[in-house]
Amino acid sequence: MALYSEKVMDHFLHPRNVGEIENADGVGEAGNPVCGDIMRIYLKVSDDVIEDVKFETFGCGSAIASSSMATEMIKGKPVSEALALTNKAVVEALDGLPAHKLHCSVLAEEAIKKALKDYYDRHGIAYDPARFPEEDTCAHCAL
């Protein structure tokens, strides 16, 4: 039986939104030396909407697919909706991930949240710190 869904394969083979945004409004990086995945998310925000989003990920197939899907899910959305994105939603949109690769979706959520926090910090926008994760909080990676 195939380990990966068709959607995971599609986003692994044809990742959307790959690259870097020069003069991004927010940049977030997540990674863990145990997993060996490094994700960096770049945001361009205009009128409180995610106008553009790009990612640079060096990792496994699931990490690339998670980054690709997560960026698709927040592109064109209000910042508040992007902030509400969960790793569970990313996994569902990919029609599932292998159990030992669930942490990849956690890293995608973390990288987006860090990019949004960076956007708030750069633009002097007040926020509730409790909404943002601590460094390297991927519970799966800490096992």
Partner: protein, 305 residues
């Protein structure tokens, strides 16, 4: 036991049991001193293929021990610390490689040696950072799907402009911690030093370096060079090894973050425990996997002649 006592016991036991100890260059100095051979992935694979010992202990990470078993299937091969893996080697499994092959028909699949035995079964040839240019240059194929490290792949592709390359987004999390800013800082702090980096670094880093090469290439370049100072952009154990081999020169780490936790797992105590039969993990591979992966590694050894 002191380090010296432990080393003496290891030397006595390995002779008594006819065991060959292989150590990757990123291992610690105390392990280097008891190894029969120290080298990068390419050198280790050549040694593994030619050893006449009854058993081999690999001080490195899992794919290196697998490579050793593939090249010396009649020997007992042990990974000194069974917990030492390679995050990059785990990035692509056989299912993902099969999908890539369907996506890129007509491309020869070249994998970095930092892949699992299972992944190698799906690939045409493997390469190491020191052999990649020569092996791919000697291949008849001019369309290459290079996996999993796109940064090493990008560096090799620049040396072979007549071939067409495709990549996936894989890479080494340790080398990717080095940034162009680290290079700028090193230039300012050590203006007379040469900056030597590994091709697993991001292309924005290798573009700024004075020399790009495998770990054995970096060691040889720094040892033979006439500069008084060198900045090293690879796993930071190499800084210390160069301090031992060239105490009259100065060596600095390009980044304080380039520490590979997996390479640091193996200790001198693990090596002794492995020789005593208490620690270590014996590597076993199914015969079909071993044979298919061997074709991939043999192709590298043949094409790098």
């Amino acid at each position: 036991m002191t380090i010296a006592e432990m080393q003496a016991e290891i030397r006595r036991l390995k002779q008594e049991k006819n065991v060959c100890i292989l150590a990757h260059t990123y291992q610690s100095q105390d392990i280097w001193e008891v190894a029969d051979y120290v080298g990068d992935s390419y050198g280790l694979s050549v040694q593994a293929a030619g050893t006449d010992a009854d058993a081999v202990i690999m001080c490195g990470v899992r794919f290196m021990a697998e490579t050793c078993k593939i090249l010396a299937p009649d020997k007992r091969v042990y990974l000194a610390n069974g917990g030492a893996g390679c995050p990059m080697a785990d990035q692509l499994d056989a299912e993902l490689v099969r999908a890539l092959k369907r996506e890129y028909p007509g491309y020869a699949v070249v994998c970095y040696i930092n892949t699992t035995a299972e992944t190698k079964t799906e690939c045409d040839v493997c390469v190491t950072s020191s052999s990649a240019q020569k092996v791919i240059g000697n291949m008849e194929a001019d369309r290459i799907l290079f996996i999993p490290d796109c940064n090493l792949g990008d560096y090799v592709a620049k040396q072979l402009p007549d071939k067409t390359f495709r990549f996936v987004h894989g890479g080494c999390p340790t080398h990717l911690r080095i940034t162009p800013r680290d290079v700028e800082t090193a230039r300012r702090l050590h203006p007379d030093a040469e900056i030597l980096v590994h091709p697993e670094c991001h292309p924005s880093v290798t573009a700024l370096a004075d020399y790009v090469g495998s770990t054995s290439g970096i060691l040889a370049h720094a040892e033979a060079g006439d500069r008084r100072a060198y900045v090293i952009g690879t796993e930071n154990s190499i800084v210390q090894h160069l301090q031992f081999s060239c105490p009259d020169k100065a060596f600095y780490a390009l980044s304080g973050d380039t520490i590979c936790r997996n390479m640091k797992l193996t200790t001198l105590g693990d090596v002794l425990g492995c020789l005593r039969g208490a620690f270590g993990e014996e590597i076993t591979l199914d015969e079909p996997v071993l044979n298919a992966a061997k074709r991939c590694i043999d192709a590298m050894l043949r094409l790098s002649q």
